[in-house]
Amino acid sequence: MKSVLALGILAALAAASTSAQSVQITGFGQMVAGSVIDGTRSPTTGERSFPGTGYDSDWDFKDESLFAVQIRGDLNDQWSATAQIVARGREDFDPEFAWAYVGWNGGKGLSAKFGRQRIPLFRYSDFLEVGYAYPWLRPPHAVYNFQFSNYDGASLAYTFGTGSWFSTVSVIGGKHESTITLSGQPADQELNSLVGGSFETVYNDWLTLRAGYYQAEVVIDAQALNPLFATLRTNGFGNVARAIDFNDDGSFVGFGAEINHGNWLVISEFTKVQIDDSYYTDKDQFYITGGYRFGAWTPSFTYGTRDADAKTEIIGLLPNVAPLAPLRAAVSQVVFSDDLDAEYMSFGLRWDVSTNVALKADYTQYENKGPAAAEADSIAAGVVFTF
């Protein structure tokens, strides 16, 4: 399915390339080095780690590095085909279609996309990997912590301006499929019947406000949990297995605000995520960034939090009797693994070397004071570019 779609887009691009000047090639990328310089070591591997990255105590030059090429072909005045191929160091620079869609521009502010595109959950979702488009080295992990970003489907957007306000309403519908990592093991993930919408408005080019709601049926086949589920079911506790696993509705609510006034920069987002009947906790997530532009230099500070209480009622489904103690312990471990009382503090620096090259550096302190307590300090620096 994936390759059929990609081939279709490529065929459309090839068709467009027969007429001169209608194909545009652009691109972006970043080369980043990072390391976890201090923090808790895993009791099993003895290594340090940092949330949202693959970093450990050694210096890594691949994990957050990437290179992307975008090809756009105009089919006629209203239709175009676009493919964005991203090679991420994290995936051994294996190229992948991040976007592959046919776009329609109906004029009067109405447009649509059909194919692979980003799920516009966050303010920066659409340009998640375009480092040149934001001040941080990476979007704040307190909010940007999903292991997926795309869906296959359709989106419809209406853009309108009234005086000082310039607004966009968009709705999407589709499906996402991928393999994520859960408890260190691969897990096939599906977001079915994914629907939602967002509203974004810009006032006089300096204030941006945004709100979005999305929902989907979340199905995850977590290999790491299957042995536990099997034990629960053999002992007649299928209801406990169902209360832990991912096979129910998930919802996402997000609000964002951005001020870009004179040399000041303030960005903030708040999100609320939940998945019914799973051990995934209801999460309140937030960050705020403040920065100031000194010519080509932009230092910034970001504070972020993630709050979520373990769903202890799941443990209560098992009778508190001695023979079940080991099973209760195993269930508790899973349930408390997603309890979060986490804080992030980041110092970032961006230096615009030229109009399409910037150098960036980041120092982040992370601490989770929840039952799965952990601390980690990471530093990373790199060069980002567009062409």
Binding site: Q24, T26, D74, S80, D126, A296
Partner: protein, 134 residues
């Protein structure tokens, strides 16, 4: 070092007295006159049509660039690139062109329906129509 010098030179260019220019389209374009907000909307990728055609936005590297970006568009250099990268890599707009000088912009604008660019005052001739003065 060379870059620092270039940046310094750019700074000087911005500080120097206004360098006058014109926003232009093909002489036969259906696009009517624009005010500053209208020019901003096009050069920030918000309006995607010019004279009823899909917009082809043309920037240029000549000396008229600095006064146009900082005086009319309101965003310059890295901030402008950052703004456009958000539009281009999300499919909201076609990447703008970045041509060498007045002559290249005039040739492009005169021969391309929907193209809009800016040139210095003394480069204006009958091949283009002036929509805005700066």
């Amino acid at each position: 070092m060379k870059r620092i010098l270039t940046l310094a030179a750019l700074g000087l260019a911005m500080a120097s007295p206004a360098f006058a220019g014109k926003v232009v389209v093909a002489a036969n374009s259906a696009q009517g006159n624009l005010d500053k907000a209208g020019v901003q909307a096009i050069f920030l990728g918000r309006t995607t049509q010019v004279g009823g055609q899909p917009a082809v936005v043309v920037f240029q590297k000549g000396p008229v660039r600095a006064p146009f970006e900082s005086g009319v568009v309101g965003r310059a250099g890295a901030q402008l690139t950052s703004h456009w990268s958000r539009l281009v890599f999300t499919g909201r707009a076609k990447a703008p062109e970045d041509l060498a000088d007045d002559a290249a912009v005039k040739a492009k604008v005169a021969s391309t329906p929907g193209a809009i660019g800016y040139i210095s005052d003394d480069a204006v001739d009958a091949s283009v129509k002036v929509l805005f003065d700066f």
